[in-house]
C-alpha cells in the first residue's frame, strides 16, 4: 500500500508519521512539499502534526491555503484516504475538508499527556480494526484542540456517525464539545483527530493502540 506525507514549514511530527507508515505499510511514504501541485497515486495521504507557519493567524490557516492542499482536496474528492493528525486536523478544518473549528484549549494551557479514546464508530475504514465502544490509549500534545461546531453541524455529525473518536473517562484535555477527539467527512474517507496514534504503534512506544488505525486505513491485515 502506497502512502504520502505532506510537508509544510513548521511541522515537527513528520518524521514520526513517516516512521509509522514505513513500519506499518512496509515501505516509506513519498513526501510532498507545500508548493507541489500534484500528489502521486497513493492509497493514503497523511498530514502530520506540528506548528505549520508558526500557528500564525490561526492554527493551520496559512497551510490550508498552500498549493499542496488544493491537490489534497482533489485527491480526497476522488476518494483517496486522508488522515490529518493534530495540526493536520486543524489544516483539514481550515481547508474546509472537515466541518467545524479547533479553538484554544479551555485551560489555555498546552497539554502533553496520554488520554483515553473511545471508538464511537467502528464502522469506518479508520476504525474497522477496533471494537465499537473500545477504549484505547493515545498521546495528545496541543494548545488548540478544542473542537467547536454550531448546533446544526454538531447534530449532523452525531447523527451520521461522523464522530469517530471521543475522549473517554473524563480525559478530555481541551474542552472540546461533546468530548470530540476525531471526526470523518460525509464520504468517510477523510479523518481528522487531535491525538497522535502514530506515536503508539509498537512496544518501544509503550503500546501499540494506534497501530490498528493505520492498518484499517491502509487496508492491510493486522
Amino acid at each position: 500500500m502506497k502512502s504520502a506525507v505532506v510537508l509544510l514549514p513548521g511541522l515537527n511530527r513528520d518524521r514520526d508519521m513517516i516512521a509509522a507508515l514505513t513500519k506499518i505499510s512496509g515501505k516509506p511514504p513519498v513526501t510532498v512539499w507545500q508548493t507541489d501541485t500534484e500528489i502521486p497515486d497513493v492509497d493514503l495521504i497523511a498530514i502530520p502534526g506540528g506548528f505549520s507557519f508558526g500557528d500564525y493567524l490561526r492554527c493551520g490557516a496559512i497551510a490550508a491555503r498552500m498549493p499542496v492542499m488544493r491537490a489534497v482536496a482533489e485527491k480526497a474528492a476522488k476518494g483517496v484516504t486522508v488522515i490529518g493528525v493534530c495540526n493536520g486536523f486543524q489544516i483539514l478544518v481550515e481547508a474546509g475538508l472537515l466541518p467545524g473549528a479547533l479553538m484554544r484549549n479551555t485551560s489555555l494551557k498546552f497539554v502533553c499527556r496520554q488520554i483515553k479514546l473511545e471508538i464511537t464508530n467502528a464502522n469506518t475504514m479508520f476504525t474497522r480494526r477496533y471494537q465499537p465502544g473500545q477504549i484505547i490509549r493515545s498521546p495528545v500534545a496541543h494548545h488548540d484542540g478544542n473542537y467547536f461546531a454550531d448546533a446544526e453541524t454538531l447534530a449532523r455529525l452525531e447523527g451520521e456517525g461522523q464522530v469517530v473518536f471521543r475522549y473517554a473517562e473524563g480525559t478530555n484535555p481541551n474542552g472540546s464539545i461533546n468530548d470530540i477527539a476525531g471526526i470523518i467527512n460525509e464520504q468517510g474517507n477523510v479523518l481528522g483527530l487531535m491525538p497522535h496514534p502514530e506515536n503508539l504503534i509498537e512496544a518501544a512506544h509503550g503500546g501499540s493502540d494506534g497501530r490498528a488505525l493505520f492498518e484499517g486505513a491502509l487496508g492491510i491485515a493486522a
Binding site: E94, G100, A101, M103, R104, T106, N146, F148, D150
Partner: protein
C-alpha cells in the same frame, strides 16, 4: 492608495477562553464591574486600488478566504 482596518471578532455563542482569562485578570487588578471580555483581531491593510467600492469588495473577499474563519468569527471592514 486606500488604507483599511479589518476587525475580526468571535461570533456570539462561541466560547472565548482567552477573553475569559483577560476578564478575570482585569477583575484581579481591581477594575470592578467588568462584564464579559471578548478578544479579537485587527488588521491594517494598505491597498494600491484607488476605487473604494472595488477595495471594499476585495477586502471582504480577503476576510472570507483567509483573514476570518467564518465558522467561528465575524468581520467588519472600515476604509480609513
Amino acid at each position: 492608495m486606500i488604507k483599511a482596518r479589518i476587525t475580526v471578532t468571535l461570533k456570539n455563542g462561541v466560547l472565548d477562553p482567552q477573553g475569559k482569562a483577560i476578564e478575570h485578570a482585569l477583575s484581579g487588578l481591581g477594575f470592578d464591574g467588568v462584564g464579559a471580555v471578548r478578544q479579537g483581531k485587527v488588521f491594517d491593510v494598505e491597498l494600491a486600488e484607488g476605487d473604494k467600492a472595488k477595495a471594499e469588495a476585495d477586502l471582504k473577499a480577503m476576510c472570507d478566504k483567509l483573514l476570518a474563519n467564518t465558522v467561528i468569527e465575524n468581520y467588519s471592514v472600515a476604509i480609513t
